[in-house]
Symmetry: C2
Subunit: 345 residues, 2 copies
C-alpha cells in the first residue's frame, strides 16, 4: 500500500500529520519495552534450575508480536488518565500478555502441538508437568497483582475472559473430527479462543484510563471484531502460505480434526463437499496421506473456501473501520488503522 494513503481525509481534517502518528508509534514502541519489564516483574520467579523455570524463561525470550498489549495501550490513550496513570496501564498490558502466554502454554498440553511460534512447544520440550504448573503459576501471579493493586473490576473481567477462553477450547475439542460442524460453531469457538482476550484488552485499557461508558463499549466492540478478523486470517494463512512462512506445520488443524472457516465454507459448496467429505471421514479414522491433504487444499481454494474467508475478513475490517470512524479522531485511531492495514488480506 503506498505510503501517502496514511494521510487520510480524517488526518487532514483533524490536523494530525504523519509525523504525529509516527511519533505516537515510536512512543508505543518504548512503552512496549516498559510492558515487557512489567511482565518480568509480575512473573519473576526463583524457579531457576527447574523445568518450570525454564518454561517461564523461554516464554519471555520468545516474545510474540505483542498485539494484545498494543491494544491495551492504544485503547487506554483515549482516556483522561492516560498520562497520569500510565504505570497502571503498563501493568494491565503486561497482565493481558501474560494471560495470553499462560493460555498458549496450557493449550499446548491439549494440542500436543510440537511447535509454537516456530519453536518447540513447552510440553514437547519440558514435559506436561512443567507446562501445567507454568501456566498455573502465571495465572496466580496475575491474580496476586490484581488483588494487590485493588484492580477488582479488571480482576473480574479477566477471570471471565479466561473462563471464556477455556469454553472456546472446550467447544473446539467437542467439534473435533465432526463433519457436521457449522460456521456458527466455529465462530463461537474462536470467540473464546481469540476474540475474548482482544476484547478484554481494549475494554480494560479504556475503562482503567477513565473513558466514558460509550467509548469503552465502542473500543470493546472494536477489539471483538479485530480478534475475529485476526483468527480468520490465521486460519486462512494455513491455506495460503507455506510452513516456513507461518512457522508451524501446515494443516495441523485439519489433521487434528479442527475444521476452520475455509474448510467449512467449502463444505457448503456441493462440488466442494463431494471432494472434502470422504477426506474428512477418513481423517477421523487414521492419519491421512499427504496427497489427501493436497486434494483437500486444492478443493478449498477451487470451491470458494478461501474466497469466502477473505470476504469475511474484509467484512470484519469494514466493521472495525466504522467503529473507529465513530470515535474522536486521534493518533491512536490512525495507529489502529495501520494495524488493520497490516492484517488486511
Amino acid at each position: 500500500m503506498p505510503e501517502q494513503s496514511i494521510v487520510s481525509a480524517d488526518m487532514r481534517e483533524n490536523n494530525i500529520s504523519i509525523s504525529d502518528v509516527r511519533d505516537f508509534e515510536s512512543l508505543l514502541g518504548s512503552d512496549l519495552e516498559q510492558v515487557k519489564k512489567e511482565m518480568q516483574l509480575i512473573a519473576s520467579h526463583s524457579l531457576n534450575g527447574t523445568q518450570v523455570g525454564a518454561v517461564l524463561d523461554d516464554a519471555f525470550s520468545t516474545a510474540g508480536k505483542m498485539i494484545r498489549p498494543r491494544l491495551v495501550l492504544l485503547s487506554g490513550s483515549f482516556g483522561p488518565f492516560y498520562e497520569v496513570k500510565k504505570d497502571k496501564l503498563f501493568k494491565l498490558a503486561a497482565m493481558i500478555e501474560l494471560t495470553h502466554l499462560a493460555s498458549l502454554i496450557h493449550d499446548d498440553i491439549v494440542d500436543d502441538a510440537p511447535f509454537r511460534r516456530g519453536e518447540r512447544s513447552v510440553q514437547s520440550k519440558y514435559g506436561k508437568d512443567a507446562a501445567v504448573y507454568a501456566g498455573d503459576f502465571i495465572i496466580c501471579r496475575i491474580n496476586y497483582t490484581l488483588a494487590r493493586e485493588n484492580m477488582n473490576e479488571a480482576a473480574a473481567v479477566l477471570s471471565q475472559t479466561i473462563e471464556h477462553m477455556c469454553e472456546g477450547e472446550i467447544g473446539q475439542a467437542m467439534c473435533r473430527y465432526r463433519e457436521d460442524v457449522s460456521t456458527d460453531d466455529y465462530l463461537w469457538n474462536i470467540q473464546g479462543k481469540t476474540t475474548a482476550l482482544f476484547k478484554a484488552a481494549c475494554q480494560l485499557g479504556a475503562s482503567e484510563m477513565g473513558c466514558s461508558k460509550e467509548t469503552v463499549s465502542k473500543l470493546s466492540a472494536f477489539g471483538e471484531c479485530l480478534g475475529t478478523m485476526f483468527q480468520l486470517r490465521d486460519d486462512l494463512l494455513d491455506f495460503t502460505s507455506d510452513e516456513a512462512q507461518i512457522g508451524k506445520e501446515t494443516h495441523k488443524d485439519f489433521r487434528d480434526g479442527i475444521y476452520t472457516m475455509p474448510v467449512l465454507m467449502t463444505l457448503k459448496d456441493p462440488e466442494g463437499r463431494k471432494v472434502l467429505l470422504p477426506i474428512i471421514q477418513e481423517n477421523s479414522k487414521h492419519r491421512i496421506s499427504d496427497s489427501d491433504i493436497a486434494r483437500m487444499e486444492e478443493a478449498v481454494v477451487r470451491y470458494g473456501g478461501t474466497d469466502a474467508t477473505v470476504r469475511e475478513i474484509r467484512r470484519m475490517s469494514q466493521r472495525c473501520l466504522s467503529i473507529l470512524g465513530s470515535l474522536d479522531y486521534c493518533a491512536a485511531v490512525q495507529v489502529f488503522r495501520n494495524i488493520l492495514k497490516l492484517l488486511y488480506i
Copy 2:
C-alpha cells in the same frame, strides 16, 4: 479412645460440656451443607454435554472429607464477626475446597494417576484436555468471586497459596527417582503440596472474621502443623494399610519415584540403606517387581522408617496441641482437638 477423655481439665475449668461441643459439631455439619451449596453456586456452569462439564459434576459428587472448609469455619469461629458475617465465611470455605479440587484435577494430569479417592481420575476418564480446562475454569470462578466480593486480601493470599502449591509439585517432580533426596527436600515439597492450603484455610477464616493479628498468626501456625501432620500420616498409610482401605494403588508414590518420609528415614539407617538403595536404583530404570516392592516395604518397617514417621506425626500433634492451649478456650478448640485425635497414630 474412651469417650470421657473428651472432658478435659480445660473443659471443666472453662465450663464447656460435652453437649456444647457436640452441638457445635452438629452445627458445623449443617454449615458444611451450606458450604457445598456455595461451591455449586460459585462453580455453576452451562457446560452440560461437554467433557469438562462431566469433570465438574463428578468433582462435586465425590466430595471428600471437607477437612479444609472445616478448618475455615472453625478458625472463623474465633472472630468477632463470626455470627454476623457467616455468609462470607461459607463463601471463603467453598473457595478453599474448590482450590483443593482444582489442584487435585491438575495434579492428576501430571501424575497420570489412574485413581483418585477410589474413583478413576479425571484425566483417565475424560482425557487431559478436559482436566486442564476444568481446573482452569474452577480457578477463574474463584478469582471472579473474590473480585466481585472485594475480598482482596483473601485473593492475594489464595493466589500466593496456589503458587506455593505449584512450587511443591514442581519440587516433587524435581526430586523424582533421586536417591539423594533429603528429608528437608521432602518437607519443603509437602509444605507446598498440602500444608500451604491448610495454613491458608485457618489464616483466612480467622482474618476474614476479624480475629486479632495474634490469633490469626496462631491459627495460621496451627494450620501449618496440622497440614504437615496430615501429609505425613497419608504417606505413612501407604506402608501400614492395604489398597482397599485407602482407595489407591499402594506404593504408587514409590513406583513413581516419589520417596516419602518412611523411605527417606529408612535410607538414614545403614542396614536399611543396604536393602533400599539397589531397589531405588532399579526403580529409576524400569518397573520393579512386586517382590522388590515387598522387600522395600519390609525394610521400611524393620529399619525404623515407619517408626520415625510416627514420631514426627506425634511431634506435630504436640505442637498443634500447644498452639491450641495458647488460644482462648472455646468449643472450636475442642473440635480441633477431636480432629487431632482422629488423625493421631
